[in-house]
Symmetry: C2
Subunit: 302 residues, 2 copies
């Protein structure tokens, strides 16, 4: 795969903005990162912020820019409507939203309908590019992928198309419980990650499937501290284990014959790897390179 | 049952302070409520606050005062250590913590050990009095009781003794999700309670026991709003249904042949009544009278 036009790949999220200038075979020539997520950009100022931070890269003749993430949301630069699943690489390419310059395009997010009674919709923006990038890098066209984070995504891909996905509010609930709930009062958030305690949290959820609930088990973060069974520094690891364990509650080795692909920061994919290995579910990890690979492949197909 | 000494019954919680002057047969002669929960009282000032607010009542010759709730916690007036379960009325009475005057006693809370692998401890303070009060009023000595709230309690009583209980962080998670999470951004918290939408939330949890998780279903509060399937005013009812549904996840009509006793404010017990009836689980409700009945019975046994 190669790209005749120089590509500027941008991942413009809610709280951060990352960009990379890619070479003809997709290699990263230069990258930049700014705390300029869409929440920091006043309406109507997206083009100005983009020009200020990446304008020099765009001066290269023929340069093309693809932007994924929340920049394509209603609160972003311009709304690129969700592409309904099942959707593959081709659908994403067809629904790129070209801005007036014709050299910059917003990548649409994906939507799907749940299999529950209400057919509850689900959405993603930005993850779709990482998914296709990781599949390209792994040389696979079917997989279960997990993108941990504030809103963790579990994604099914079959024959190169996303067929179904589910969002879990794991990261946001962890942040709320540790910063704003009664649990936070006894936790030492600077405590080093404790693998044993983390896995105890995972086990608590796994072993109590037929009774209790995560709403109950969360309270143990308070009482295990109160009764001095865990130290203040260990409590965040236990809370993390409970919540990631709850996200993994229905996952078993029997339903994952192929490795699950994890995409995310090293700190987070490490925790998911530990939990998945504990459940004997094979997995492998990818980081930021998945984003650049996905945008590069998309540009090559334009 | 009667009480020869005049009783001042006090429920001193985290955020509020309620008191009642009871007659010889337990009837409420006068009651007072103040926003003076223990969090508002500086260390060492509990006696002064008590004297200021209830000193006149204590001037009646022979008056006795029992105080339940967080006033007996480490952050309260003085610590009344937890009474380990199984514990009944007799154990509570034996472990009253008499303050130096000999006319005021703090009621201890209860603790129990969970049946999970870690034997995770659980605790309550104040609810134990409501439990025994409600049982007295109902004339029962065995029951499942539910005390909804910030930290909802599910309690098993057999032969007049609390054998086991579980705390669920339902109310606190509702507050955090509606006030601090991304879900709050699209919710109208002033929206009137919508019974149909609330029960849809309960059903979503009940019907998806074998997949998903409340961490996933919570995200629907965002997407059902985004796709205009529910109005901003309906979203709090759906969130409430999801969380109360999750608390009730393992409850079935088959395991509740006797009515569950709900104790709490009318607004909360109404929601639990709706959800329990929806699951064909019989229930009945009690309010603040359970607290006064429990403290009165305890004083009578002193």
């Amino acid at each position: 795969m190669s790209n005749t036009r120089p590509l500027i790949a941008i991942d413009w999220g809610t709280s951060s903005l990352r960009g990379a200038r890619l070479g003809a075979s997709g290699q990263v020539l230069e990258s930049r990162e700014f705390p300029r997520g869409i929440l920091t950009v006043p309406p109507g100022q997206f083009e100005a912020v983009f020009d200020e931070l990446f304008g020099d890269w765009m001066q290269v003749p023929g340069a093309l820019c693809l932007i994924s993430g929340m920049a394509g949301s209603r609160q972003g630069w311009q709304e690129a409507p969700y592409c309904p699943c099942p959707a593959g690489f081709a659908e994403l390419g067809q629904h790129l939203l070209w801005l007036k310059t014709g050299r910059i395009a917003l990548v649409p997010g994906l939507s799907c309908l749940g299999s529950d009674a209400l057919n509850t919709p689900d959405v993603m923006r930005g993850e779709e590019v990482q998914i296709f990038g990781a599949l390209h890098l792994e040389g696979r066209d079917s997989a279960t992928l997990v993108l941990p984070g504030t809103h963790s995504k579990w994604v099914q891909v079959q024959g190169g198309r996303v067929t179904q996905f589910q969002t879990f509010m794991t990261g946001e609930v962890f942040a709320l419980m540790s910063q704003h709930s009664i649990l936070g009062k006894t936790m030492d958030l600077q405590g080093a990650f404790d693998e044993t305690v983390f896995l105890q949290g995972v086990d608590t959820i796994q072993q109590n499937q037929q009774r209790g609930s995560v709403l109950h088990h969360l309270f143990a973060v308070r009482t295990l501290g109160l009764f001095e069974r865990l130290s203040a520094a260990q409590l965040p690891s236990y809370l993390s284990g409970l919540l990631i364990g709850e996200e993994l509650r229905h996952q078993t080795a029997a339903t994952h014959t192929e490795p699950v692909i994890l995409i995310g920061s090293e700190a987070l994919t490490l925790r998911y790897t530990l939990a998945l290995q504990h459940l004997r579910i094979p997995c492998q990890s990818r980081g930021a390179e998945a984003t650049w690979a996905g945008l590069f492949a998309l540009a090559s197909a334009c």
